[in-house]
Symmetry: C2
Subunit: 143 residues, 2 copies
């Protein structure tokens, strides 16, 4: 799994004459390890304990590369920081976001996925990926 992504990234770099650096590897590893909804800043903080010399900008630049390599993609929750998640997760789950405590649950209903395909077909639209977010109050907060 992980090694798939690492290999893909290395190939991506090689293909365009970019360089394979420790920072990029470290950032990719951490990004995959944290799986989902990560902001650049969180990634940076998580890494800087271990690698105090790592620069913020390197994290931002690496995320951009990961997006370009289709390994990461932006998820759009509300707020002012941008968040990212591994591409391979995307399209495979939907989100229940609690507007009270902010927690997110990841869910999947194959019947919904199926109906989306139908919907899209009716519009002669070729789907690549999708995002479903349902905002509300989670069980805990409701009680």
């Amino acid at each position: 799994m992980k090694s798939d992504e690492k290999a893909a990234f290395i190939k991506y770099l090689k293909d365009r004459g970019f360089k394979k650096t420790p920072q990029r590897q470290i950032i990719l590893d951490k990004f995959l390890e944290m799986k989902g909804h990560v902001s650049a800043d969180e990634l940076f903080r998580a890494l800087r304990r271990k690698y105090p010399h790592l620069g913020q900008s390197t994290v931002f630049r690496s995320i951009k590369l990961l997006q370009d390599a289709k390994i990461a993609s932006e998820v759009n929750f509300t707020g002012k920081r941008r968040r990212f998640e591994p591409e391979h997760i995307k399209g495979h789950h939907d989100h229940l976001v609690c507007v009270n405590c902010g927690k997110t649950a990841e869910v999947l209903d194959q019947r919904i996925e199926k109906l989306q395909d139908d919907l899209v077909r009716r519009y002669r639209f070729t789907p690549l990926r999708h995002r479903l977010e349902i905002f509300g109050i989670c069980r805990k907060c409701a009680s």
Copy 2:
């Protein structure tokens, strides 16, 4: 339609002792007129030709009021600017976003809406609103 929202906003203001000012009215009007996916900055630029004295912060502050009054809500497309759309549009349609030409179609499938309710019930989650975006290639661009 529009007057509904205007009345609601005025009531909202009155109810909490906030003031009904020309700026707030102008901003609400323009916001409704532009319907959907508007950023604070776009709203500001659209208005400043006609009202050169309007301040950016007033636009930001008014949008916040509109959100609070449940007239506007943040939509989460990708990018660094936050975007908003009228609340009455929300929850009533889903988006097909063409990644080639950038055009968005608004669609609705009641069966999907229905299944979402089921899904959510299984998680004892109380839904307030949701957003479904399907990214892909539209018919025009595909041909």
